[in-house]
């Protein structure tokens, strides 16, 4: 009020608040009343208090009554509510638009959903693979000690180290806070009362094992459970299996193989699935005499260290070479007759290295690793595929929205004339694209749920969509949807909103050359990816096929492997004689050394007597005289072991690679070689035969020198059998087995299955690529189909005129398809070298593999072209057959 003092007025912001907050019709008298009170209070108690009171009273208008009436306050003059109206209008337009172009929208949504679903599944998989061993509280500080070396060019990579390593490192390096060991020791038979099972998840562990690894106890004390000899900690599953509902603590389990009984001192939770070791029964290391061994000559102990927080393991690793030199030198002297310096001079080395716990599952490539390992390369490949799938889907989205743009040019023109600014139009189109993305996201969720079991079954995974993960993922998903929506809607949004309204409404708008070229290059890109994936799939399958059919140098068919025959003990020979009487069994050998199976610690270092200073590290197979004929291996020279020669216990058979490595050509037979064992004892062998090279490991690895010695090696029986009545044969063998040893399960496998199992990783990637190549081609074709639809529609009139002027249906199909086929051909030309390069790298991982054939590429190119043609022609033929009257009537 002008005639009043200007400073005596209610707080302006409070008044503003009321203006915003109150319904218009109530505003005047509320403000009036408040002001009246305010002036009264100014007089009575001063301006400060009055203002404060005014504020307080104002804020008290935030009550349900007024809140409820606030919405009624909509009016044309309110910019804010206009904004909401527009927003609402955008939604309506978006939905109408989706409804109008059902086919196009469906393609759009479905395509994007497929991309997102694929991406999600792969994310689940990657998350699963990366999550290994993370559950241990000290996961980031635990490292495993590993053993690497090279003797005479032969690489040595072992996951376990010598027994004293843990103690030595703990004593010598203060940064090692804790050191604990795990030692596997066969597959014992465990007995409690009348229950008796073979337990393969068995190991010895140091007493401080549970201080390093976080495996919660249900009963017992983790700190003391493994202190005493003959104590064990079992998992909940084992407890249930042996004791049912009884209290397991203090119960005694009997280990027949070790002639001991162990008392249960703790029950831990079952091992999580994502751990690099799965041990159900942990026995105290104090029960194992080996554990105190100070020998640096054998390695059997998985050793884990805990390092300080924030300490990089490489710092400790740098100090470790000294350890080997200091402690291993005497051992070397004894075994090889040279000290470490001399040993090193010959280009050899041995050393301890460290490996972070969380790297073990994905990055480990060692002999004697505990449990299965993942493959980081596959993870990269899968992630790349996921990314590409998403990219292709987004590109489709962009392509289709842009293609549909000219149809909506009139709408944009009108909106612009009516006063929409570019920003609003961008907002509208982004909103539309986000809406579509949201629908895709929902569909993708459903797809993931439906596809997961299928995915699991073809990849042998057990991924699950647990609620916790979903909830954690939800914000990310929403953000992701927003991002994809923005990304996918970005180009059409800016492209569409830049239309000039005048040219649009006059009808002189030409959807520029530029957008066509961008769209075309996107199609090329999509097909590039699809073709590359298809080539990849084909090459992987060719390589798998090559591995299946390659002559491995031994029989795959009809070789039956009977596992664990050592449990028969003295009755092993009885069993062998029995089964040999079966006419379906041709020959039986007793040897645990099998190609394409887990390799045992069977290193053997020999030197030829003709040149004693030459060392050759070889693998050693303990075999009997039946081994070579049963396995179907061929002799290159000399003879097999034979019972007729009493001297064969000191005879040796080499493979061709070993002969070459020793520098002998024709004169290998009759040579002698010497081997010194860990105790320094020397043994001399005479070469009586040379066996042709055979692939004793997967085709990833080059054949290395190998020797065979005649030695009894019980454990596994290998039988060459007739394959016409396998079922009957197995049934009869089982009967004989059970008669001899009723408790033990009868275990068998066939050589070809075992070989198959060696290539699980390749099979997995083959299936993966197959599925995803199929999916990308489907999504790419969806895009192509959408574009073809659009083009056909745009050129309806042209086609009508052409038909009237005498063009045949064939001409028109050709005309419409030509442009697209050019793009696919171009995609081929780009994809081929790319695919060649990638697959060449992949194939280099195989020592024995196929070479890439140009035909593969040609066939894939042709297939892509055909699929594209088929997709387009569905639309093109329809356009060609349409009656021109329909399209020209309006003209």
């Amino acid at each position: 009020m002008n005639d009043r003092q200007p400073d005596i007025s209610p707080p302006r912001w409070a008044a503003r608040f009321l203006e915003w907050f109150l319904p218009d019709e109530l505003l005047e008298d509320v403000q009036g009343d408040l002001q009246e009170v305010f002036y009264k209070q100014v007089k009575a108690e001063g301006i400060k208090k009055a203002r404060r009171e005014y504020w307080l009273s104002t804020l008290q208008y935030i009550r349900p009554y007024f809140l409820g009436r606030r919405q009624k306050k909509k009016s044309v003059h309110d910019a804010k509510s206009l904004y909401f109206d527009m927003f609402y209008n955008y939604f309506i337009i978006a939905f109408r638009n989706i409804k109008r172009n059902k086919a196009l929208s469906a393609i759009n949504i479905f395509g994007l959903a497929t991309g997102i679903a694929t991406c999600l599944i792969i994310m689940l998989f990657v998350q699963h693979e990366l999550g290994y061993d993370r559950f241990h509280e000290k996961a980031d500080r635990i490292v495993r000690v590993i053993f690497k070396g090279s003797i005479q060019g032969e690489k040595l990579n072992e996951a376990h180290v010598m027994p004293p390593v843990a103690q030595t490192l703990l004593a010598d390096y203060p940064e090692v806070q804790e050191a604990t060991r795990l030692r596997q020791y066969g597959i014992p038979r465990v007995t409690y009362k009348d229950k008796s099972f073979k337990e393969d998840a068995f190991a010895f562990a140091d007493a401080n094992f549970f201080q390093v690894f976080t495996l919660p106890f249900l009963q017992g004390d983790p700190k003391t459970a493994l202190l005493e000899p003959n104590t064990i900690v079992i998992s909940q599953a084992i407890a249930r299996k042996f004791f049912g509902n009884e209290d397991p603590i203090g119960k005694v389990l009997t280990f027949k193989d070790f002639n001991t009984s162990c008392k249960v001192t703790g029950v831990m939770v079952n091992m999580p699935y994502n751990s690099h070791f799965h041990i159900d029964i942990l026995a105290s290391m104090a029960s194992l005499p080996d554990a105190k061994s100070s020998s640096w000559g054998t390695s059997n102990f998985y050793t884990y260290l805990v390092l300080p927080e924030g300490y990089h393991y490489k710092n400790l690793e740098a100090k470790l070479p000294g350890v080997v030199e200091k402690y291993m030198s005497p051992q070397l002297q004894q075994s090889f007759g040279m000290n470490y310096a001399e040993f090193q001079q010959k280009g050899n080395y041995l050393g301890l290295f460290l490996q972070p716990l969380t790297d073990i599952y994905l990055h480990s490539d060692f002999m004697y690793d505990l449990g299965p390992r993942g493959n980081i390369e596959n993870l990269y490949i899968f992630s790349a595929i996921a990314l590409f799938m998403l990219l292709i889907a987004c590109i489709n989205f962009m392509n289709l929205s842009t293609a549909g743009a000219s149809k909506r040019a009139r709408e944009v023109g009108i909106r612009k004339v009516l006063g929409s600014v570019k920003g609003q139009l961008v907002g509208q189109f982004l909103l539309e694209s986000i809406l579509l993305t949201a629908l895709s996201l929902l569909l993708a969720g459903a797809m993931v749920i439906l596809a997961l079991p299928f995915f699991n079954s073809i990849t042998g995974q057990s991924l699950a969509l647990d609620m916790g993960f979903v909830l954690k993922l939800l914000p990310a998903l929403l953000l992701f949807g927003l991002l994809v929506g923005m990304l996918a809607g970005f180009y059409p949004a800016f492209f569409l909103s830049s239309f000039k309204p005048i040219s649009v409404l006059k009808g002189t708008l030409t959807v520029g050359r530029k957008s066509i070229s961008i769209r075309s290059s996107l199609v090329v890109f999509q097909f590039c990816i699809s073709i590359t994936l298809m080539v990849g799939t084909l090459v992987v399958y060719q390589q798998l096929n090559y591995m299946h059919t390659k002559d491995l140098g031994y029989n795959k068919e009809g070789v039956l492997v009977l596992g664990e025959t050592w449990v028969l003990g003295a009755k092993e020979d009885v069993f062998r004689k029995q089964i040999m009487q079966d006419p379906r069994v041709i020959q039986v050998s007793l040897s645990g050394y099998l190609p394409a199976g887990p390799s045992y610690n069977n290193n053997f270092t020999v030197s030829p007597d003709s040149n004693p200073s030459q060392l050759l590290k070889t693998l050693k197979y303990d075999v009997d005289d039946q081994y070579i004929p049963v396995m179907g291996m061929q002799m290159a020279a000399g003879r097999n072991f034979s019972p007729e020669f009493a001297t064969d216990s000191s005879s040796i058979i080499l493979n061709e690679t070993a002969v070459r490595a020793l520098g002998w050509q024709q004169n290998a037979l009759g040579q002698s070689i010497t081997r010194s064992d860990n105790d320094g004892k020397k043994m001399s062998y005479r070469v009586i035969g040379v066996v042709k090279d055979f692939h004793f490991r997967s085709l990833h690895e080059r054949i290395s020198p190998l020797v065979m010695v005649l030695s009894r090696s019980s454990g596994t029986m290998i039988a060459k059998v007739k394959t016409d009545d396998v079922k009957g044969l197995l049934a009869s063998l089982k009967t004989q087995w059970t008669a001899l040893t009723p408790d033990e399960p009868f275990m068998y496998s066939f050589m070809d299955e075992r070989i198959e199992n060696t290539y699980v990783s390749e099979q997995k990637i083959g299936r993966f690529l197959g599925v995803f190549a199929g999916l990308t081609i489907v999504v790419a074709c969806l895009g192509l189909f959408g574009l073809a639809t659009f083009t056909a529609e745009q050129r309806t009139k042209e086609m009508g005129i052409r038909k009237v002027l005498g063009a045949s249906a064939g001409n028109i199909v050709a005309l419409l398809s030509k442009d697209f086929l050019k793009l696919v051909i171009m995609a081929n030309l780009i994809a081929w070298p790319l695919a060649w390069w990638i697959m060449d790298i992949w194939l280099q991982d195989f020592e024995y593999g196929i070479s890439l054939s140009p035909w593969t590429f040609a066939w894939v190119g042709l297939a892509a072209l055909l699929i594209a043609l088929l997709t387009i022609s569905v639309k093109a033929i329809k356009a060609a057959l349409a009656n021109p009257v329909n399209s020209l009537r309006n003209e």
């Binding site: 009020m1 109530l26 008298d29 403000q31 009343d33 002001q35 009170v37 009273s57 009550r63 009554y65």
Partner: protein, 112 residues
């Protein structure tokens, strides 16, 4: 019209409006309610109740002339409607019926 429920505070405000007769507007009612009940009451509560009573049809209102002390804003005067008067009477009747139903001496027992 559905018979509207009358809350305790609403009843008081309605009674105050009735007793103020022609001078019933926001500030006046607010001061009267506080004075009569001896309670501290916010202005917003009074306003909300007045408007709600109007919506329920117990009151109607008209805008008066502008006054300087209110920054030129007009006053909204409230007046009891026949429905409002009826509602008050009904409450009064119910109350007195209930009072009569109390046996002799019960209230005195509590020393009132």
């Amino acid at each position: 019209m559905r018979r509207a429920f009358l809350g305790e505070f609403e009843e008081i405000v309605l009674l105050v409006v009735a007793s103020c007769h022609l001078e019933a507007y926001g500030v006046n009612v607010w001061e009267q309610v506080q004075e009569q009940t001896g309670r501290k009451i916010t202005m917003s509560a009074v306003h909300a109740t007045l408007y709600r009573l109007e919506e329920k049809g117990f009151l109607n209102s008209h805008m008066g002339g502008s006054t300087q002390e209110r920054g030129g804003r007009r006053k909204r005067f409230f007046k009891l409607t026949p429905a409002g008067a009826h509602a008050l009477q009904e409450i009064q009747a119910i109350r007195s019926k209930l009072w009569q139903g109390i046996p002799q001496g019960v209230i005195q027992l509590f020393g009132i």
